[in-house]
Point group: C2
Chain length 314, copies 2
């Protein structure tokens, strides 16, 4: 078995995907049950304000700022009882909080923008985008886990939103993070891309699926590729990971070596699935494809996989 630490690049590929640049000091080992209350009593605290898949951004000239001073956030009706504690950045404590305000009654200097657009349009720097991924995932988990899955009783938040305790049966529940395998199957000449019926017309991407109970990452890659495309894989190699707050996935990106050529696409999952040669994929990445086909934008882990293969998979 190979040991690749000392010949690795200084920054791993996961540092170049969207949502990966979080620099908050989480201090996860020492989160107290009252860490939200402590932070809310600290005038330095700043808030991410989220509502229904959107984040409230302050328009500051040409740039957007997602951080709201605690003392200046009242007009947005922050639901402080549902706040989650993110940790500390260089200016002090930071939290994520649901906003109660109707997004059509915001002042002109505040924009409520959906997470995907924030990311696709590059409205925030990497550190803020990483904080958004953390806050969005954590608020979504709390919102969908208000009741104990063991006994059905209402559960209570603890540890700044990183635990929910059931007072009836005593169970503790922790945030869930769903690992998803996303894989580019490739030879030296061509790679396998597919499109789901709900993709934008012309868009093709790497195949993906949830890792199931009792699977290694690599075996999930093999199973998904066989089930969705009828392609058996030999070698599978991990490349990069990405937090994906829709609502709380961890994308795990791999390359796979095909052992057969004939595609049998699962038409329940994929509208189309085929081999693309390198020159065509280069055009799809550059958005110069004569047929208008394209691959996911920079920042998406599928883009990282596809562009890495185009440039280096020789």
């Amino acid at each position: 078995m190979t040991f690749r630490l000392f010949d690795a690049p200084p920054r791993e590929p996961s540092q170049f995907v969207g949502f990966a640049g979080n620099r908050i000091d989480r201090q996860s080992e020492t989160r107290a049950d009252d860490c939200v209350e402590t932070a809310l009593a600290d005038p330095r605290s700043r808030l991410l304000l989220l509502r229904e898949g959107r984040v409230l951004l302050k328009l500051d000239g040409e740039t957007f700022d997602p951080w709201h001073e605690l003392g200046a956030s009242e007009a947005f009706e922050p639901q402080l009882g549902e706040a989650v504690f993110l940790g500390f950045d260089t200016n002090g404590p930071v939290l994520a909080v649901p906003a109660g305000v109707a997004t059509d009654s915001l002042p002109a200097t505040i924009k409520a923008i959906d997470f995907r657009s924030v990311y696709m349009q590059g409205l925030l720097d990497e550190a803020a985008l990483g904080a958004l991924a953390q806050g969005a995932a954590l608020l979504a988990w709390n919102a969908s886990h208000r009741f104990c899955s063991k006994c059905g009783h209402a559960s209570e938040t603890r540890a700044g939103g990183y635990r929910r305790h059931c007072p009836a049966c005593g169970a503790d529940h922790f945030p869930r993070t769903d690992p998803v395998a996303i894989m580019l199957t490739a030879t030296r000449e061509k790679c396998l891309l597919g499109r789901s019926p709900h993709f934008t017309p012309g868009s093709y991407s790497a195949l993906a699926g949830f890792i199931e109970p009792g699977e290694t990452i690599e075996n999930a890659v093999r199973r998904e590729t066989l089930e969705e495309a009828g392609i058996r894989l030999g070698r599978v190699v991990y490349h990069a990971s990405q937090p994906w707050p829709f609502p709380y996935s961890l994308m795990i990106g791999c390359f796979g070596e095909p052992l057969n050529e004939d595609i049998q696409a699962d038409l329940n999952e994929l509208e189309d699935c085929r081999w693309f040669y390198r020159d065509e994929v280069r055009q799809m990445l550059a958005r110069t494809h004569p047929g208008g086909l394209f691959t996911p934008a920079k920042g998406a882990i599928a883009h990282t996989l596809i562009s890495t293969w185009v440039e280096n998979g020789i």
Copy 2:
């Protein structure tokens, strides 16, 4: 960014860890809501019978067989209403089922053995151990998610145990798999091992912790190592993954490059944490350490990380 598919070894390191050898054809894309009923009507079906962290094994001479013929399983009181569908092996459908029988009233040819001992003592082959990981994780998830986490109403099983549907609010819930980062921090000369207070005396292992919302795998490795040991990491490299059915984790094993030497152990988490030179670790792996220290047994992903570094991390 490097592309490592075509110079990878024929079998990835994840194929050499325990619980990784599952060969069941899950047919995950086509699981019908009545797939358990269909399988229970098929006389070829075989069952894994589990009870309270133990699996019922048939003692067959010197070997153990975890598969029970459906028609011969009645004495073990299989709770067929809670059966989960694993998929198909070469002999037909396979399921995992909770057994109602008291484990102290079993015949002499049936042994109820806890999952960890089955794995540590190598009682089953890799394929059966992989099936056990799948069945144990899935039954544990269903048992701890009988109620809808969104509204508290009792939920109902669907898709062979791979989905739970809430008839009150309409929510669908899917099995959870908790990604855990486990990492060996190492230079060319020494590596970082720690022990938790609940470890067997003398046992030292790689550090580990749950990946949090909004983190890449590599950043989780850095955070955990800094928080638990006070060691900042530079490069982080993925090595292998392992299904870990206690109750439904996915261990993600990495190597990390330390940027400082002085350890500040989090004494809430670790009883001891220190640097070990290669020769000492070799003795710990071989269980010949003069002080009686040792590392996890073969099959554990920590063993894979540690032995790979000892043999190849030059």
